[in-house]
């Protein structure tokens, strides 16, 4: 009887040791507990508005890396300038880890709305990865609020008009807009060609 007990106890001990070791291998000490994860998720700073994104892209903020989490098909049809494509399904693929687990750049996830990008953000933040953000409203908001910016009512506040003016400027920057209409001299082509060049540079910066 005693021998059996000793066997059982040693087997249990071995099991416990194995479990802790196996646990350690799986363990990521940066991983956030559920409470901390939720505490982070409610911070407004996790989200970037389309207006802030437009400003950052126009000033060629070199820290920005745009990550499009939609499918490869959707990415091919349209994506933001300089974005890289990591479909949500492939977020944790080994190839992508150096991109999502880093402390140098500011990663901005985006999708058509906010939901898919938020999921990518959530997984990255649970793993304790730094500098992750997601685009509030996604491409739908980008097009509606920036590219197709509509003037406010005449009775709107000064702030609304200022917002509209900056959106209109961004719309011209990103979409081409109506720059050419005011410049009918030979300066127009020069101005027009210098802009896209800058865009190209920022695209390169984002992809690296």
């Amino acid at each position: 009887m005693k021998k059996i007990e000793i066997y059982i106890i040693s087997a249990l001990l071995l099991g416990a040791v194995w479990l802790t070791l196996a646990g350690k291998i799986e363990k990521n000490d940066k991983e956030l507990c559920p409470y901390k994860l939720i505490s982070q998720a409610v911070q407004i700073e996790n989200k970037i508005t389309v207006d802030d994104l437009a400003k950052k892209l126009m000033t060629k903020d070199p820290s920005i890396v745009l990550i499009d989490v939609r499918s490869a098909d959707e990415f091919k049809k349209f994506s933001l300038s300089g974005a890289i494509n990591i479909p949500l399904e492939k977020l944790l693929a080994d190839d992508n880890l150096p991109i999502i687990n880093q402390e140098v750049n500011n990663n901005i996830f985006y999708s058509n709305g906010s939901d898919k990008a938020a999921k990518a953000w959530l997984i990255c933040n649970r793993l304790g990865y730094k500098n992750n953000f997601y685009l509030s409203g996604g491409l739908n908001s980008w097009i509606k609020d920036i590219i197709k910016a509509t003037p406010p009512e005449e009775t709107a506040s000064k702030e609304d008009f200022e917002l509209y003016n900056s959106r209109k400027a961004a719309s011209i920057f990103f979409g081409g807009g109506t720059v050419g209409e005011s410049n009918n001299s030979s300066a127009a082509p020069a101005a027009a060609s210098s802009k896209p060049l800058r865009k190209k540079e920022s695209a390169g910066g984002g992809c690296n």
Partner: protein, 185 residues
């Protein structure tokens, strides 16, 4: 710290769950649950917004658990009754989805997540159920993005080619390319 022991799903499993969109219910089903008003039904609406917004207006019978309080600080437990089916909605759809994903990661399964945020529910279900109310998905592209971008560069291109002749005709071409290139093709 009682940290990682409290997750039922490891990160890869959590991602696999996030992709499926299970537990997310359509506005149509949501409307039927709101209008059913069966007192015996075990459905419990949970309003994840802050108390002020909740006090202002909420779905009938909803309880208020602000998103920040959904997970207990001491034990990471989620105080939900196993015999009920909770239906989450929030100020924005991504917040409700974050709540659903986190509580599924800790092992809770008896919940549903509304696809629409509170404003959507209010405007399209509570105030008036419209013919398009069921047709909602915030991840659905609201535009043909590439087309919109091409069109918004359009006037520029035509006005430029009107203004001068030879050199300009080359410009619109590169311009068009750029705006497409702006999409990182």
């Amino acid at each position: 710290m009682p940290s990682d022991a409290t997750y039922e799903l490891n990160p890869k499993a959590a991602l696999a769950y996030a992709i499926t969109d299970s537990n997310i219910i359509s506005p149509e089903l949501l409307a039927s649950l709101i209008y059913a008003q069966d007192p015996k039904a075990n459905y419990q609406f949970v309003d994840l917004r802050n108390p002020q917004d909740y006090d202002n207006e909420h779905v009938d019978g909803a309880i208020n658990i602000p998103l920040s309080k959904i997970v207990n600080i001491n034990n990471c437990n989620v105080l939900l009754d196993k015999n009920k089916i909770y239906i989450f909605y929030a100020a924005t759809s991504d917040q409700a989805i974050i709540a659903g994903n986190v509580i599924r990661q800790v092992g809770i399964k008896n919940f549903l997540v509304s696809k629409g945020d509170f404003n959507y529910i209010k405007n399209n279900i509570l105030d008036a159920y419209k013919i398009n109310s069921a047709n909602y998905d915030s991840e659905k592209p609201a535009y043909d993005y590439a087309k919109v971008i091409a069109e918004s560069s359009g006037p520029n291109v035509s006005s430029a080619s009107r203004s001068s002749t030879a050199p300009v005709s080359a410009v619109p071409k590169t311009k068009k390319k750029e705006s497409a290139g702006g999409g990182c093709n």
